[in-house]
């Protein structure tokens, strides 16, 4: 099925690319990342224009996000409770909900590329909880821009070697996610009440305060 789709890329190029990212933003099982990587490869070979491929991928993804948001907004609570009947979806939706509550902008931005399986569900939750549309759209377009640039760009850079590009993207995303977790957990850990207390009142054989002297 994937090979068949790939053969259509030079033929229907931009429309196929936009349709793929559109559908994948609706949580349909479409190999959008492979199509984007291959489109980048065709762009490197001169069969597609790189700028047009980027724009097509971005346009499809943004349109898919908007459909998800407005579906959530229009159907609201009724749709959500039906979707939540499935335990797998319920788990994803609950995580999406918790993320939106705490930090909506960051959640929308990161769920476009770093935590992309959450994306479609964040769209629905954002719409049904009437999260502000301009904020949703701004963070969404920025995030999809990163997503499209990452995949189409990697496909271009690796001259269509999809395996190489996806290996590199996988490692790079893992690195970014891991480093983000290190920073977040580090801040939490080293500025927690216990740590602060310890710094003010060091144990006899205990640790030195972290920031002292030059």
């Amino acid at each position: 099925m994937t090979d068949w789709l790939l053969a259509l890329v030079p033929q229907y190029g931009l429309w196929l690319l936009a349709a793929t990212t559109f559908l994948s933003c609706l949580a349909l099982p479409i190999p959008a990342s492979i199509i984007m990587l291959t489109a980048g490869g065709f762009a490197a070979a001169g069969d597609l224009s790189l700028a047009q491929a980027l724009l097509a991928a971005l346009a499809g993804a943004v349109a898919g996000d908007q459909l998800g948001y407005w579906a959530g907004r229009g159907l609201g609570a009724r749709l959500l409770s039906r979707l939540r009947a499935d335990p797998g979806r319920d788990r994803l939706l609950a995580r999406a909900d918790a993320l939106m509550d705490r930090r909506g902008l960051v959640a929308v931005f990161l769920s476009r590329w770093l935590l992309s399986p959450l994306g479609p569900w964040i769209n629905l939750v954002a719409g049904s909880t009437r999260y502000a549309w301009p904020r949703f759209t701004a963070a969404g377009v920025a995030g999809e821009g990163v997503w499209a640039t990452l995949y189409v760009g990697a496909g271009h850079a690796f001259a269509g070697n999809v395996q190489a590009a996806s290996d590199m993207i996988g490692s790079a995303l893992g690195l970014v996610g891991g480093a983000g977790a290190v920073v977040a957990l580090g801040i939490w850990l080293f500025s927690s009440p216990e740590a602060r207390k310890r710094r003010q009142r060091p144990l006899p054989a205990g640790p030195r305060p972290p920031i002292s002297g030059p």
């Binding site: 070979a45 269509g160 690195l175 290190v182």
Partner: protein, 114 residues
Amino acid sequence: MTRLLTLWRARPVLTTAFLLACAVTLFFAGRLVVYTAYWATHRELPVEPWMTVGYVARSWGLDPRALDAAAGLPPPEERGRPKPLAEIARDRGVPVAEVIAEVRAAIATLRADP
């Protein structure tokens, strides 16, 4: 080190999570380095039916028109869209494996005698 131990006694779960995140980050950093080294020396892709001549040529660092000529393939049509090898085979009424074999042979010739 002592400091980390004190922290771990105070907040075991959070400290473990922090160390795990460090390990995951190091793992992916290592993976990135390994893949970079590997793919820098393995650029060439096996020829597939969905690829166009341009795609194959790009992957093997060859001139696409030279590849066309060496494989006996038709040059791209004026203002036409690029064709995957599967379609070239269909137009000629031959199995795609035959076209792929011709392209492979052409790559070998071009590689041997640039």
